[in-house]
């Protein structure tokens, strides 16, 4: 594989027509991150993505890229809305896995002495891990309404405040969702899980704003140093997982009909305008709305937990909610012409700059808030989308630190209670359903989030706004 350095943070893999590549690959990374990226198959996967019929522009690799299934995690690809394909693998099993940031009226000095009580209260109120059923029972037509209306359904059903839905990507609801395209199995799998975090790398973290880097953008988000905030990372739970499973099975057959061949079955795709493509998009949007409803219900129960610990006047306000596993129709300038494309973001975050009409008025002059979790022992970042994202990455940026260690390697030779004690000595109280939940997510398992952010900042994809540090962690 020939990788050409374009500058200190951009690398290019040329289009190899003999391999069937229809586009080049553009990688955003520092030399050190590139060295780590080359240790797994993620760049090979980015080359495979470049083979998708109708791809527009290069196959893009964000600085947190690591090996996934079909698409790399941290991969972005836009396909022509009329002539291109949609690939469920470009969205992933966890449709609309995403992050929401909530600011509080509590300050660090008030939270530190109560952090154990707070974490334990949240642990009781918001199920996580592999065993928990959610606090909300949702049946039949009500579930379909949640699939159509997302966070807006949750707010109307009493799980939130009216302004909540306003402060989310797509206002927490993708239009043209089609609950009829979601199988009964998917509904059965997801129904009891509304209001739950799940497991794996999903979490809820109590953090404080350690340092402000952009005063104007921080002011627009009403963030200040020493303020307690909460970062929630989860998705569409079993409902989204089953939607992906169902359509991957169907698309393997359909690909033959459309004469599409690709080197990896997990990249299965069909023309966007085909009946199969439209069905998938209808179901995917419904699953995305379920994820927004899920994160909204979690916010509602989080408010309850905070008020029990800090008093009934405690405020929790949504800063914003972003998704990082999604395919969305967007309009982008491509080689001097406006074009409708389907942007697949697999482990990548939308990062629209200031002035974009999609943004709520509060962020119109600063850019869209982007949240990039690090690991439970390090830091997370608040960014805003910058103009470079529109010219380079179809308005996208990274979504996390990116794993560099397998789950098995992370567990090897380590003891969960020692990890917990070490983190406690650093002022971070961790609770998890399982010991593995702590060990698999140790800070050492992840790349350096600060370096990932530096690449995003220096390449003009996004701007640094604030660095957050955890003090309480709830893992699945």
């Amino acid at each position: 594989m020939q990788i050409e350095a374009l500058d200190d943070f951009r690398y290019r893999i040329g289009r190899d027509e003999a391999r069937g590549m229809r586009a080049a690959v553009l990688v955003f990374a520092s030399p050190r991150l590139l060295e780590q990226i080359r240790k797994d198959k993620s760049l090979e996967q980015a080359e495979n993505v470049a083979m998708l019929p109708g791809i527009v522009g290069p196959s893009l690799a964000m600085p947190d890229i690591h090996q996934g299934y079909g698409f790399p995690i941290g991969g972005v690809a836009a396909t022509d809305w009329r002539e291109g394909v949609v690939s469920p693998g470009g969205v992933g099993f966890d449709i609309n896995c995403g992050v929401r940031l909530v600011r509080s009226s509590v300050a660090l000095e008030g939270a530190r002495p109560r952090i154990r009580d707070l974490v334990n209260q949240i642990f009781r109120d918001i199920p996580c891990g592999a065993g928990g059923e959610g606090p909300v029972k949702i049946e039949g037509q009500t579930l379909d309404r949640a699939l159509e209306e997302g966070a807006q359904w949750a707010v109307e059903a009493g799980y939130g405040e009216p302004r909540d839905a306003e402060f989310a990507e797509e206002r927490g609801c993708l239009k043209d969702a089609d609950p009829a395209k979601v199988s009964d199995r998917a509904k059965t799998r997801g129904r009891p899980q509304l209001g739950t975090i799940g497991s794996g790398n999903h979490f809820l973290e109590i953090q404080y704003v350690e340092q402000i880097h952009d005063a104007q953008a921080a002011a627009a988000m009403q963030l200040e140093e020493g303020q307690i905030v909460v970062l929630i990372h989860c998705g569409s739970r079993g409902l989204g997982h089953q939607v992906c499973t169902d359509y991957l099975a169907q698309m393997g057959e359909a690909m033959k009909k459309y004469g599409i061949t690709l080197p990896d079955r997990q990249l299965a795709c069909v023309p966007i305008q085909s009946p199969e493509g439209q069905s998938y998009l209808g179901a995917m949007r419904a699953a995305a709305n379920f994820a927004w409803a899920n994160r909204q219900v979690i916010l509602h129960f989080l408010r309850g937990a905070f008020r029990r610990i800090f008093g009934p006047d405690t405020r929790l306000d949504l800063v914003y909610d972003v998704c990082h596993n999604i395919a969305k129709r967007e309009r982008h300038m491509v080689q001097g012409e406006w074009k409708d494309v389907l942007v697949h973001r697999k482990g990548a975050t939308r990062a629209f700059p200031a002035g974009h009409p999609e943004l709520p008025a509060a962020y119109r002059s600063t850019g869209q808030p982007v949240f990039v979790p690090g690991s439970m022992g390090t830091a997370s970042w608040v960014l805003v989308g910058a103009a470079g994202s529109m010219t380079q990455t179809f308005g996208s940026v990274c979504h996390g630190a990116g794993r560099r260690m397998s789950r098995t390697a992370a567990k090897k030779g380590r003891n969960a209670s020692e990890v917990q004690k070490k983190l406690e000595a650093e002022g971070i109280f961790v609770r998890s359903e399982t010991r593995d939940g702590i060990l698999e997510e140790i800070p050492e398992a992840y790349k350096d989030v600060d370096e990932v952010i530096e690449v995003a900042h220096r390449t003009g994809l996004a701007r640094k706004v604030a660095r957050l540090r955890p003090i309480g962690v709830i893992k699945g």
């Binding site: 996934g68 199995r185 997982h241 260690m405």
Partner: protein, 136 residues
């Protein structure tokens, strides 16, 4: 018989068995053991499972997706897989178990889906083997 395989973000397993039917049974047992502790599953009820696929690979993915649906959708802890029909792109099997119990069955990981990533099925002098990666 199975062993866990490493993956940067997720998890996989390698299963082996003397026959292809045995391999599908072993792969199902591996998936269950990744999701929960199967040691305490009481065989209270029997269920029938089935799947279809155009190749051994897609049949294996669809079969494991069926098992996963029972684990995560029906919340049923199952073991003792017995394949009673395999051929022509179809599998039919029976398993026994009970409703999942968070305390007794010790949940381990939530598996989101069964992938085609680096999926392999092969045959050698000792029988059949497969490698499967799961999204967790």
């Amino acid at each position: 018989m199975f062993e866990v395989l490493e993956h940067t973000a997720d998890i996989g397993f390698r299963a082996r068995a003397p026959s292809l039917s045995g391999l599908f049974e072993a792969a199902a047992e591996a998936l269950v053991a990744i999701v929960l502790n199967p040691a305490n599953i009481v065989p209270r009820d029997a269920i029938e499972l089935s799947a279809q696929g155009e190749s051994n690979e897609s049949l294996l993915v669809n079969w494991l997706s069926e098992v996963l649906y029972w684990l995560d959708g029906e919340r049923f802890a199952l073991r003792g897989f017995q394949v009673h029909r395999l051929g022509g792109g179809r599998i039919a099997a029976r398993a026994t178990g009970e409703r999942r119990d968070c305390l007794r069955h010790e949940p381990r990981l939530i598996v989101k889906g069964v992938t085609y990533h680096q999926l392999k099925i092969g045959q050698n002098a000792k029988g059949w083997w497969c490698e499967v990666y799961l999204d967790v």
